[in-house]
């Protein structure tokens, strides 16, 4: 059953990324150069919309809070984000969109994937020697979210308030920002 879901959701995700033009490096690079906010609007709206529905469905007990997965916060999250951002800026691809772009027939994405496989391999090799370094110092206690997720595993920054009361307005701000951002400044 889980494999069928993997196939259906994977195809849907690849299809949606491509139809939203996230697999087009031109669109990514011009977003990062602050010339074309199309994808920024897509991302802001997708996050806001999914977050609002997620916290409504969690409050109604329709979605199982056990499905949530809050990742740990540590120094390496910011440093790794900076490295990823550098390669993202030059290429216009990230780990998800490169495989979709390859499926779409973009040849440069194949070289990106090849480099990616080697980058991940280098990380696997050196992980043992960096795992006790300052890069893995936790921030704010580690696996922490802004709002209460009602799971034993994760702590929250804003406690004693119903999650939807905080997460709802944040989600609405994301969606409103998507509407307020201007469109594109250059032809693409």
């Amino acid at each position: 059953m889980e494999i069928i879901l993997a196939i259906v959701l994977g195809i849907a995700f690849g299809f949606a990324l491509d139809q939203a033009q996230a697999s087009n490096p031109q669109k990514i690079i011009n977003m990062l150069r602050l010339k074309d906010f199309h994808l920024m609007k897509v991302i802001l709206f997708a996050i806001g919309f999914s977050s609002l529905l997620l916290f409504i469905l969690l409050a109604l007990n329709i979605i199982d809070a056990g499905h949530l997965s809050v990742k740990t916060s540590y120094i390496g999250v910011i440093v790794g984000g900076g490295l990823l951002g550098t390669g993202f800026a030059i290429s216009g691809y990230c780990p998800g969109t490169c495989v979709v772009a390859a499926g779409r027939g973009r040849k440069d994405a194949l070289f990106f994937i090849l480099g990616g496989l080697l980058g991940a391999l280098l990380y696997m090799i050196i992980f043992g020697s960096i795992k006790d370094s300052v890069l893995f110092s936790k921030i704010a206690g580690g696996a922490v979210s802004l709002v209460e997720t009602n799971t034993e595993k994760y702590s929250s920054i804003i406690g004693n308030v119903r999650a939807l009361v905080v997460a709802g307005p944040i989600a609405i701000v994301f969606m409103l920002s998507a509407f307020l951002l201007p469109g594109r400044k250059v032809k693409s």
């Binding site: 993997a6 259906v8 959701l9 994977g10 195809i11 849907a12 299809f15 990324l17 139809q19 939203a20 033009q21 996230a22 087009n24 150069r33 609007k41 802001l44 997708a46 806001g48 919309f49 999914s50 529905l53 997620l54 469905l57 997965s69 809050v70 990742k71 916060s73 999250v77 910011i78 440093v79 790794g80 984000g81 900076g82 990823l84 951002g85 390669g87 993202f88 800026a89 030059i90 990230c94 780990p95 969109t97 490169c98 495989v99 979709v100 040849k107 990106f112 090849l114 990616g116 496989l117 991940a120 280098l122 696997m124 992980f127 795992k131 922490v144 802004l146 920054i157 998507a178 693409s188």
Partner: protein
Amino acid sequence: MIKELNWLKGGLFLGIVFLAAVWLVKPIGVSTQFVIFDGIVWDIFSPKLISENADSHTFESTNAYLNKSGGKYAAHVKKPFSYGFIFVLSMILGGFISGRLSKNKVLGSSRFYPEVWQDKFGETSAKKRYFYMFFAGFIVLFGARLAGGCTSGHMMSGIMQTSLSGYLFTFGVFAAAIPVSILFYKSKKQ
């Protein structure tokens, strides 16, 4: 034949997929699967990389990364028909289907580089693009593994759940990506 979606429909569609994934299985993430793929290849050439503990049916690896979190990645390398790996392989198919159905095809030079690249480096720069793509892919996946996730897992799925790590990651990405892209693609004409 379909035309690409406007930002609102694109955002709605992507938002629904992210939500459906959490609802039915777990939040979407991609970059871990690069490690699983590497592990599968590595395991072929080095049979001693991963061993199964017969009593507990868990996996152990001589590689510290595959061995972390109770050998979670080692188990996925040994049993690659897992949710995450099939999900990422299916994304390739999603991109392919989208391309077949789309009115706007990826044709000519855009198969090798985007227009911004051509404006900066000219029409005979495909090889240079491939070299840079290899380098970019290398630091993107190294960075994603150091961060413990990528644009899908940290930024989209993370911020959706109001995870602090999602905000920290996003800050790191844009703090680097905005200045680098502006400088790297600065036009000579202006």
